[in-house]
Subunit: 182 residues, 2 copies
């Protein structure tokens, strides 16, 4: 797949994208979380070309998201098991499903997250583990972390200055420093 590598970017989002590889991989992780482990299960679920699936599975194994395990000696057969890294991708999928259901399911949701016992629909929201406060834009910001480079520090210093000098409405976020646009 032709695209720029995000590996050298400091941003944790870019690094996650680098590891995942591409869209198919997200759907493969989704299916693996559903309990699928075999090549033909993934293929049937995704209607994906076998060579593409092989490539994506291998990439996910290389990234440490899946573990390839032989389950039959003769003939040799393999299955793909989620590692802890892979299982911990679940919150990303839940957040993505909530977004998709909210905006791109005009006929109503086809897939929902629900309480396994009560069958009551869950409404996912991100909170801080300790304080249980919702991680909304007003109260929580992305900022340079302990391992940030000088460039990353400058970038986030700029962002904060930009936000603090404007009110929270979308139009007020416009920065007036740069003039060229397309």
């Amino acid at each position: 797949m032709e695209r720029k590598s995000f590996r050298k970017m400091a941003c944790p989002i870019a690094r996650s994208l680098e590891r995942i590889g591409e869209w198919w991989s997200i759907l493969i992780i989704r299916d693996a979380l559903h309990g699928f482990t075999r090549f033909d299960q993934f293929q049937k679920s995704l209607s994906i070309a076998p060579n593409t699936l092989t490539r994506r599975l291998n990439a996910l194994v290389d990234a440490g998201v899946l573990l390839r395990r032989r389950y039959s000696q003769r003939p040799p057969r393999y299955e793909y098991i989620l590692t802890d890294i892979g299982r911990d991708f679940r919150p990303v999928l839940i957040a993505m499903a909530a977004w998709g259901n909210r905006y791109f399911a005009p006929e109503g949701p086809s897939v929902v997250l629900m309480d396994a016992k009560t069958r009551r629909k869950a409404d996912p929201v991100l909170v801080d583990r300790r304080t249980r406060r919702a991680l909304n834009e007003r109260d929580f910001v992305f900022a340079a972390g302990p391992a940030a480079s000088e460039r990353t520090r400058r970038r986030y210093a700029d962002v904060e200055q930009n936000k603090s000098t404007s009110s929270p409405g979308s139009s007020s976020r416009v920065r007036r420093k740069t003039r060229r646009a397309q």
Copy 2:
């Protein structure tokens, strides 16, 4: 970009991926949430080819994630503002950043989410909005929703049967029905 369309899939994750388009788009939304609005701001931040950036911005406008707005009549200049759909993608980015920081930042995190006032680092966790219970795998499952097709219903019925007949360890998730694998 050559890839299969996910538009017809019922899965809300697939639909989200369809709308976002590709990796760059996720980083563009990230930058827009940082307050960037202008073409040259995105270009500088991402070191992206101008024609690729133009294509991605247009696709995000078509998807309803960004709004294109003229801010200067002469010469004509445009800025890109997040819509509500775009702003609501933030939980996906927070979850992705947490995953990246956890597994792919061996030198320590370069970017963290923190309380804007106290500067204390946040630890993002997904909970159910009403009950505040953590949405972990044991308690919450994906299941067919009200608009599910027959195929989707069958699929999730299979998944549940599969999970309920096996203990929660990864190896026990293996289904023994299918035999072919690669």
